[in-house]
Each structure stands twice: as C-alpha cells, then as structure tokens.
Amino acid sequence: MGLMFDEARHFLSRTGFGGTPDEIRQLMRLDRGAAVAQALAIPTHKAQTPPPSWIDRLPPPANERKHWSEMDRKAFREARKEEGQELKVWWYRELLTTRSRLLERMTLLWHNHFTSSLQKVKWPPFLYQQNVLLRLQALGSFRTLLHAVAKNPAMLLYLDTQTSHREHPNENFARELFELFTLGEGHYTEQDIKQAARAFTGWHLDHRTGAFRVERRRHDEGRKEVFGKSGYFDGDDILSLTLEQPQVARYLARKLWREFISDEPDKAEVERLAGLFRQNNYDMASLLNALVLTPHFWAPENRGCLIKSPVELTVGTARLFNLPIEEPLQLVRCGRRLGQDLFDPPNVKGWPGGTRWITTATLLDRTQMLQRAIRGHETGHVRGQGMGDMNQTHGATWLAAEPIDIVQATLLPLGPVQPLAAGEERGQAVRQLVLDPVYQLR
C-alpha cells in the first residue's frame, strides 16, 4: 500500500530536507519499505560539488614557521580564515543540491558526533578530509568509521592525541571516546580513561606526509587494564574492546532515535534495534532501515515533534522555495547567527540541538531570516517584489498553483497555531504559514 500525503511528507522531512508537493506525491506511490530502500540506495558516497583547490595542501613545517614575522603570521591566519569560509560554502552547496539527501543528513549527524573545529585544528584541508571520511562511511560500518576517525588528522589535532606522550598521556581523546563517541557517561571509570589514554600515546599525524603513523618513541608499550581486561593494548585494541561493550549499540540507537523519531526513545525498541545493530556488525544502513520501519517513526504523535536545526531550516527553505542562491556565504553567516556554524561546533559535544536551538535570541533571528527569505533578500538576488511574483522570482510555481490546503500541508507538519483566514491572498497566506511557529518543526 502506498503512503498517505502526510506520511510521505513526514518521511521527506525526516530523511531529507522536506519536499515539494510533486516530490511528496511521487513518494506516495511507494510503501514504507520501498521508500526507505529508495532513500538508502545511494549511487556514490562522495560529494558532487567540486572541492576547493587547496584540499591536499600540507601545513608549513614547524621549523619554517619559527622564523615568521608577526606579519607572516597574520597573513597565514587570514588565508586560513578565507579557506575556512570556502569550506563552509562548499558544504552548503552540496547540501543545497545533493540528490542523496539522507547521505548528507547522516554526514551532518556524524559531524556533530565526531566533532572537530576549524578553530582548534587551524588547517582547513584536514577538516575537508574529515568531512569526506564521514560521508564515505556515513551509512557503512560504525566499526570502520570509529577506527578511521581515531586516526583522522583533524581528530588527532582536535582532541590532542597528537601531543600525547607516554610520559604524560593526554586524556582528551580517551575521555571523549567513551563519553561522547561510544558509551555515554556512567559506563566507564576514570581509571578506564587513564589506562586507555596510555594506549593512544604516540598516535601521530606526520606533518610531512599528512598521514597517520605511530611514533614508537612516544608510545606506551606497557600493560594496561581497561574494562576489566588486561593486556599490552594499543589504540586499535582499545577501540575493539570498546566495541565489545553492548552499551555502544544502545548509545547509537538512542542517538539515531533522537535524530529521526523523537526525543523520547522507546526503551524496548532501542534494545531491539541495538541487538540488530550488533548482529549486523554495526552496519549503519541496516540500523537506519530498521529504525525507519518501526511504527514509532510513522506515529502521528511523533510528527512535527522535533525542532529544525539551523541547517535544516535554511537549506530546507531554500530547497523548498527554490531560492536562487548564487552565493551560499549568506547561508553560512545565517547558520552561524542561528547557532550552527558548520565546521565550528561550540565544543566537543557538538550542538546540543532539540529545544536548545530555540532561545529568545535565535527565535528572533529565525523569524527575521524567514521574513527576508520569502521576500527574496537574504538568500539570493531580488528579482521580483514579494510573493505575488513567486513564479518569476523563485521558480516555486507550486506555491501559487496548488490548492491552499496542499500548500499548508506541504509547509507545515501540523496545523498552524494561527489558522489562515478564508480567502486570504496567496502571498500573504504563504508568509503567514512560514512565520507560524509550526514551520520551525519537523
């Protein structure tokens, strides 16, 4: 049996960035299983937007930097800042144009899970490379992803593995590995962290090649005891030992539940999904498939119960209204104002999300951004004057052509807080729906 209009709309808003009435109706031909299979059939796990030119460059060696003047240093910082902006623009372009929407959504999720920031890493090519890795493994094996992320240059720098030495192990990576990446608080001890930190000593980014390597002189070869097991563990052993903990699958299933279903994970279902996830050797695509096929995903009470992130709000609006965006730098600025500066998460825990997206300040900024967007200012050229010229301005003909109840059901996941007055002029009606608090929900 095919999907209902509201079901198809819900599916597109949770697994992508929303859909136009045509996209929703196309999906209505499929049943739930076929819909998720289609979303997961991704032709290539690579971004289609051409990357900036500097992505393979290596940072200047330390002995060269030593001799720099204050002017040199300033020029260096300015150049990196420029590249950082280009990197953000690059990702926004991909988000705005990709056909593999679920892949980008998952890349966003991993960016907020395995966080790294330009601010700390200070070398944009490393952040680009991390983004490529996150996308490549976004729907693959979590095991592969975890091992790769731990050796990823941006991560080695972000959580200080780079400078960790057997004499003074730096605990930053080991702590976040357990607390944020795999187990969650309360499922490890301080002792586990201290011991695990020793195993990652010597893990190193070779600045001459840009590649990971283990520096033997810095590595602690000794015996370590982690999770009650004892051995001459290295970093990979610690990752494997961690993945033996059943808590990892639970932690991730819960995380995905909060992303795709609601902020109240169902305990029994999470347990079942976690079991499946372990059986499938941490295959993300199977977990996602099972998650979307739970009745909870489709339950009416779980529709419109999550708050759109700034990226979902801006990218979703731009896609839905077909806004002519020639310079995504405006979206970058907008995202930062709304509290989500891609490649610069606030800290290692990432953006807390949920209701935390909305403060009095960001609520004001969201409203202002939407007002400008539907006037055609913020996100591109102004070619017409307001909604009346929608067809020429933005090319979203459906806003004028579809019956008003379809427009409302497309824009909003639930009925509006302020119902439309009968016979409202179309431009004014669309404006009212977009500025309704319910438009902030997905």
Binding site: D160, Q162, T163, S164, H165, E167, H168, P169, N170, E171, N172, R175, E179, E185, E190, D263, G304, C305, L306, I307, P346, N347, V348, K349, P352, G354, T355, R356, I358, T359, T360, A361, T362, L363, L364, D365, T367, Q368, Q371, L414, V417, Q418, P437, V438, Q440, L441
Partner: protein, 403 residues
C-alpha cells in the same frame, strides 16, 4: 507616603509574618523606598543584582592565583609555572597571574574577595557533567534538571513587574537559570532585539507538543521583555567610558548598560570561553585572563560612575580547575578545585578559604577545601537575604565576605 519609625517597624513585622513566598527582600525594599519617598522602581531595586561570569572550559586555578612560594608548584610545572618574579603578590604565599594586574586596584581597595579551593566531593572531570553539577547545585552522583537559580526563583518568586529572572549575554546557555519557570532573555544587542521583537505578538495555545510549547514560551518572553526594555533603554544614561572590544568586554558593556538602565532582572550571566587549555596554555591563558581583567575593571569603573557598584555582586564560576601537573602538550588536563572571584561595592575584600595542598593530592588533583555551594549560599543568604536553600546533602554555610 511618609511613614514614621513606628509604622515602619509595624510593617516590617507584618512582612516577617507573611508566608515565605513573599519574603523577598524586594518587598522590604519597597517599604524602605516608599518610606524615603523615592520612586518605586529605582536605585534600591538594583541593590541585588548578581552578575555571573562563566569561565567556560575549566580555568586553570593554579596559574590564576599562583602559590609562588610552593616548590611543589614549580616542580609540577616546569614549562607552565609563572616565574616568581612575574607573580603579582597578594599575600605572602599567593599572587595573581601577571595578566590580572588590572585587578590589583580592586584588591587594594578591598572590593575583591578570592575564594580558594572551591570544588565538591567525588569530582567529575567531564566538562558537561561537571558544569551540570555546578549549575544545578547537585551532588556528584545526583542528576537534577533545574538550574540552582531557577530553583531559588521558584521558591522565592520575583514581583510580577520584573521583566525576567535573568538575562544571558554571549554564547553560553541558561545554565543556572535553565529548567523550571525562570524566564531568561538571551540578548546580544538590545537595540536589534527590540527592532526584531516588534514583529512578533504573543500567542497562547495549549499543546502537548513540547517543542512547540517551547517556541511559544519563547515568543511570549520576547514580547514581554521587549515591551519593558523599550521604555527603560530609551531613558538609560550614557556610561561615559570605553570598554575593551574583546567578547567578554562587549558582554560586560551590555551588562553595564542594562544595569544603568535599571532593567528589572535579578541575574545577568556572561560567558568567556576557551579555558580548556590542553595544549599551548601559556599564551592562550594569558590572553584570556588579560581580557577578563580588563573587562571587569571597565565594568567596575562604569558602574561606579553610575553610582550602582554597591548594588552589584560579580561572581565567577567554571566546571573545574586543572590538573596540578602539566602535560606534554604544554597544557593541563581536567582537574578539580580552583579559586573564584567575588567582587562588588559591598564585598569585604581579601582571601577566603584554605588554598589546597599541592602535595596531598587525590589522583593527581587538588582536594577541594570549600564546597561550591557555599558561594551560592552567600548569594542567597547574604546578598538577597533569603532563608537558606538546601542543595544536595548537607548544609553549605555562606561565606562571610559581604559587608
């Protein structure tokens, strides 16, 4: 209205007999204000402002208040220790990091209290968990979902004419004011706030959808706050001094403007970030402390100029201090106890508490000597004159640092 001494005593007695809910000092002040024939909303209402400064990331206490006579300090930190001759000596054993030099004048004029060894039992070294403990005033193992100021405000509500319980400046979140019914206004630029709020009317609609309810609450707060701020900021006096342009400088400038405009809130929270100095600490920490000291000094000068410095209490907090021993990355890892600053026109300056020993450590970390909830008790009991509030197990006595 002019009351004679007897009538005033009678009224005070009556107020004491009122249920606790009404025993907010503001009500007493109102009587005082009325008695002294002052406008109802005026200077006296501002007497109880709390300005919280979050040092986000975990400030290194040992390099802030340096135990410059302690050999153990120099042994633990061959790279990072502040050389003895650079320390700004405050007591025969402790001194400021050189970047804090601007605060020396406050120390000398006895407007600055330093509380040393602030921490809590069974310390947690996770940023997120430890700041949650601090902000909810919980025991180490206890998880609470309401900020400590939220709880205070619920137990002792502000009079209805207050715009909100708190105003947040900068990037930090509501923290101590989160959860519960406390209204907090996140504000970066008041002018812009007013302009934007103009397009948003209040809506009320009962809903079981928590996300939607949260957005509607936000809209209501904005409307209420904007209406109120509008009038006050229009009449605010000029500060007449230049603030530093650092982030913390800008935040404290806005805070000073709000206080000068007599915006009726109880708490203003500002945040300075990047104290998580795992690597390359020396230059980074220098810059942070320098910015902090410059901003705080400007703040004090501005408020003194407005005649309201004695109505303001500034207090720092941070999730933890840092490990005694430096790491190999020229930085320090997450630790435990640390000193905190309390300053204001009514502060009795000086050193409070026992500096923790650098040799009797626990897992390489300092043992705390004062529970952080004693700082909160000081605010609640000594600053606001409220009855004690219980946080977690046991009593945490207020510190006698206000006069």
């Amino acid at each position: 209205m002019i009351l004679n001494e007897l009538q005033r005593r009678e009224l005070l007695k009556a107020a004491v007999a009122l249920p606790l809910v009404l025993l907010r000092p503001f009500w007493l002040e109102r009587l005082w204000a009325a008695q002294e024939n002052e406008p109802l909303v005026g200077r006296r209402d501002r007497e109880r402002m709390l300005v919280l400064v979050e040092l986000h990331g975990g400030n290194d206490g040992l390099n802030t208040l340096v135990p410059y006579e302690d050999g153990a300090y120099y042994r633990a930190r061959p790279q990072l220790a502040i050389p003895r001759d650079q320390v700004r000596q405050l007591t025969p054993k402790l001194g400021f990091h050189p970047a804090l030099t601007p605060l020396m004048s406050l120390w000398e004029s006895k407007e600055l209290a330093l509380v040393t060894g602030v921490g809590y039992p069974r310390p947690n070294r996770s940023h997120f968990r430890s700041i949650e403990i601090w902000e909810t005033a919980s025991d180490s193992e206890q998880v609470l979902d309401k900020g400590w100021l939220s709880r205070v405000c619920e137990q002792f509500p502000l009079p209805p004419e207050f715009t909100a319980e708190g105003i947040l400046l900068g990037k930090g979140d509501a923290g101590p004011l989160s959860g519960g019914k406390a209204r907090t206004i996140a504000l970066n630029d008041p002018g812009q706030f007013l302009q934007q709020a103009g397009s948003m009317g209040p809506v009320s609609m009962p809903t079981a959808n928590r996300s939607l309810a949260h957005i509607l609450d936000g809209q209501r707060e904005i409307f209420h706050a904007a209406t109120d701020l509008q009038g006050r900021i229009r009449q605010a006096p000029q500060l007449g001094i230049e603030f530093p342009t650092s982030r913390i400088g800008k935040q404290l400038e806005v805070a000073a403007k709000l206080i000068a405009a007599h915006v009726p809130v109880s708490v203003i929270k500002v945040t300075q970030g990047s104290f998580d100095t795992h690597a390359g600490q020396l230059p980074a920490h220098y810059r942070l402390l320098d910015e902090l000291a410059q901003a705080l000094t400007a703040f004090r000068t501005a408020l003194q100029g407005q005649g309201v410095w004695k109505d303001v209490l500034v207090m720092t907090y941070s999730e933890f201090g840092r490990r005694v021993e430096e790491n190999a990355s020229h930085g320090t890892d997450h630790g435990t106890a640390a000193p905190h600053l309390v300053m204001g026109g009514q502060v009795k300056g000086g050193l409070y508490g026992m500096p923790p020993s650098l040799t009797a450590l626990q897992d390489g970390d300092l043992k705390y000597t004062i529970d952080y909830r004693s700082l909160y008790a000081t605010v609640i009991e000594k600053w606001w004159g409220l009855p004690p509030v219980t946080f977690g197990r046991g009593r945490h006595p207020a510190i006698d640092c206000l006069g």
